[in-house]
Amino acid sequence: MSRPISPRSAPPEPGPPEQAPLRRTLPRVPDRFAVAGVVLLALITLAALLAPWLAPYPEDHLDPVNALRPPSAEHWLGTDEVGRDVLSRILYGAQTSLLIAAAVLGASSVVGVTLGVVAGYAGGWLRDVIMRITDVFLAFPALLLSVALAVVLHPSVATVIVAIAVTWWPWYTRLAASTAASVATRPYVDAARCLGVPAPLIVLRHVLPNSLTPVLVQLSLDAGGVILTAAALSYLGLGAQDPTAEWGLMVQLGQSRFTTNWWLAAFPGLAILLTAFACNVLGEGLRNALDPRRTVR
């Protein structure tokens, strides 16, 4: 278990402590929950990658004669309304969910961190412009903005990625900007500047690497959120469309039959829960590990 200790015990040195190099701050005793998260996430990723080999049936295997069969030896998690194997669809659905999470986090962190670092290092009017734009985006509730975007575009996996990424990047911009602003005042940055190193190179070599740690923690914490949001959009009919296997979509298709065929919505729901949980405990563990103000018992 971990818990924050009093901030007063933090080292009195100036500047935010998050920039402590990774190696020095890794805890000796790993957080049990974090380890469970890592293992779970690794298993889920492995299941997604190996879906074509692990799944007992192909993704598009239809068997309407055996529709809506409850869990059995033949179909471990039952079959859906057109006889597709629920277990196979959950395994293939893991691909979709992880793909969405990777694409959203990749795109929004690249955009967010780039803008954030530039804003933090440059300061002045450039910082004001960038930060006001992020404020505009942050003013809307994220899910609402995603829904609005998804309604305008045709429902698909690509739409989900775009709709979530658009609402996600401003958080990274903020985070990166505040870290970069403090890094920019460090003596080694001043030294580089005095030596005549061009600004882009300073940003790339010194400011960016030293602003990444909090973003990495945030990314791992956000992965679960992205998967949940993607599931929500698909659940609302704005995301992945049949026959794509996607967990949120499976829950939506199964909900009207929940009282008679509970396995249709329950198992994909469980998959969403486990994945989001794994991402969160992993993120929490990483935060504890990388934050010298926190200690692990």
Binding site: D60, L62, P64, V65, A67, L68, E81, V82, G83, R84, H154, P155, G237, Q241, D242, P243, Q255, S256, R257, F258, T259, T260, N261
Partner: protein, 535 residues
């Protein structure tokens, strides 16, 4: 979709064919009356029925309040507000008296005389006379909308006395059957017609209480006190239509007694309903079939044919688990024009070959198709799931959109053809037990689209369709041949439509309701006047 509309005709024929007229009602002897406020111990005669009969359709009820042009789901309300000269009896398969008490035909069916019922009051206060009846029918014919075509044979209408209506026809026609139609055959006081649904001009047992377009409880009806049939205390005096798109919600509302009638459940819930004490079920074959209409203006012939081959007809019927039977052509069994042995089959190899001929298919450019279907209709959803899975293998992406009927229909009728869908899914049922309705409404070319949502324009097909009514009256064998030829042209040669299945009606209603009988000639209509809670 006119999802309800098409139901009526189909129902009547299927009844005859399968000897299940009226359907098989189970659990009617159960006594639970969740929707009733009947006082225990009171005698039936003395107990005034204060409960509301709540009907839970999955789509909006009213699209058109004018009895002349109404041609959609509002039949479930209209058939209780308005009446025709006759009503089709599904058990006897004959029209029976309604506003007309007797009728005769002469001159080999070219002359018909109807005696009107005495003392019938319109909801407007006017009294039924042959003059008003003539005005109503002539107004309907003049409006030319909806099912007005049913009066196509009428040459002139005369009123020899206030209670006699005499029709002279251009060609022989079964006018007593036509007059029983669920659409365009209503006798109404034109002064009462109101497009905003604030009043009505009917003679039926119920009149409009309140219509709130877009609200969950869209429409409420109240008893018309001066109804010619009179009122018994136990009859339902208040009716509500509560739009419930989700089947599961409808089922829960039925169990809790908040709704009284659910027109359709999914097979699993229907099975469950059969063993639930507070609920009774009813099953009947119908004349309602599912039409998958392909846009003939945007899709090349090969693509339309490929889509026909891509549908898993056997799989769909299997997944329906008793809620439908495989269709053989456009005309359901039991109607003139039905052609046995033309049940379609899925053939993905052929579908791929046809797609490749059109320049699509695996390893070729992706084809994206827009399909619209009825929101909340799980049977249509099954079709969509099966079709999209089959098409994915052929590099065709189906963008399927569940919609409320008005929105789906408006998009299909969009002035700009680019805004219309590629594939339109709806149910159809005949207006009276005759197959003409499918052809004249859905496949005859029209300047502005109405129900011809494959947008087919074929002069030869039009000519054949126009000849059908007279041919049916004079030479049924030739009419049968013509119907067979038309189906070959429309389905095989022009590939304007795929017809996967004919519905089997599966109703669920509160166990306490007595007297419910399915009449497939009026699809999805509950004749509330005939019902009462059990004592």
């Amino acid at each position: 979709m006119r999802w309800l509309k098409g139901l009526a005709v189909a129902g009547a024929v299927a009844l005859a064919a399968s000897a299940c007229a009226g359907g098989q009602v189970r659990g009617a002897d159960r006594t639970a009356t969740p929707a009733s406020t009947t006082t225990p111990g009171a005698t039936q005669q003395a107990t005034e029925n204060a409960s509301t009969f709540v009907y839970a359709p999955n789509l909006e009820v009213v699209t058109d309040w004018d009895p002349a042009t109404s041609y959609s789901n509002e039949i479930m309300a209209m058939a209780n507000i308005y009446e025709g000269l006759t009503r089709y009896n599904a058990q006897t398969q004959k029209p029976e008296p309604r506003l007309a008490t007797e009728w005769t035909s002469a001159d080999d069916g070219k002359e018909w005389t109807f005696k009107l019922r005495e003392g019938v009051k319109f909801h407007t206060g006017a009294t039924l006379t042959s003059q008003i009846a003539k005005q109503a029918i002539e107004r309907t014919i003049k409006a030319g909308g909806g099912a007005a075509y049913i009066w196509g044979a009428v040459d002139k209408i005369e009123t020899p006395d206030p209670l006699t209506l005499k029709f002279t026809l251009k060609y022989a026609s079964p006018l007593d059957l036509i007059a029983s139609s669920g659409y365009a055959a209503y006798i109404y006081d034109p002064a009462g017609v109101d497009k905003d649904g604030k009043k009505d001009g009917g003679t039926g047992p119920y009149t409009i209480d309140q219509w709130q377009k877009g609200k969950e409880t869209e429409l409420t009806l109240k008893a018309f006190e001066d109804y010619w049939g009179g009122w018994k205390p136990q009859q339902y005096k208040k009716i509500a239509f509560r739009v419930t798109p989700e089947i599961n919600t409808a089922w829960q509302l039925l169990q809790s007694g908040e709704v009284t009638f659910v027109p359709r459940l999914n097979p699993q819930l229907f099975e469950k309903a059969a063993t639930t004490p507070a609920v009774q079920t009813s099953k009947a074959s119908s004349f309602q079939n599912l039409l998958v209409l392909f846009n003939t203006e945007t899709l090349p012939l090969e693509v339309r044919q490929a889509l026909q081959y891509a549908i898993d007809y056997d799989g769909l019927v299997a997944a329906l688990k008793g809620a439908g039977v495989k269709a053989s052509g456009l005309v359901p069994q039991g109607l003139l024009g039905h052609v046995p042995g033309r049940e379609p089959r899925q053939d993905l190899a052929k579908a791929q070959e046809l797609l490749e001929r059109a320049g699509f298919g695996p390893d070729k450019p992706e084809l994206v198709l827009d399909l619209t279907y009825a929101q909340g209709d799980e049977d249509q959803k099954l079709l969509v799931t099966l079709l999209s899975a089959a098409l994915k293998k052929l590099n065709v992406t189906l963008r399927a959109k569940p919609m409320q009927w008005n929105a789906q229909w408006d998009q299909a009728k969009a002035k700009d053809p680019a805004k219309r869908q590629d594939v339109f899914v709806m149910y159809w049922y005949p207006d009276y037990p005759d197959p003409y309705s499918w052809f004249v409404n859905v496949f005859r070319s029209k300047e502005t689209p109405d129900f011809n949502l494959s947008y087919l324009k074929d002069a030869e097909i039009d000519k054949m369709i126009d000849a059908l009514p007279a041919l049916t009256a004079t030479d049924p064998a030739a009419a049968q041949a013509s119907y067979a030829e038309l189906q070959k042209k429309i389905i095989d040669e022009r590939a304007a439509v795929a017809v996967p299945y004919v519905q089997t009606y599966q109703r669920a209603l509160a166990a306490g309701v007595q007297g419910y009988v399915d009449n497939p000639a009026y699809p999805n209509v509950v004749f509330f006047y005939d019902l009462a809670p059990s004592p």
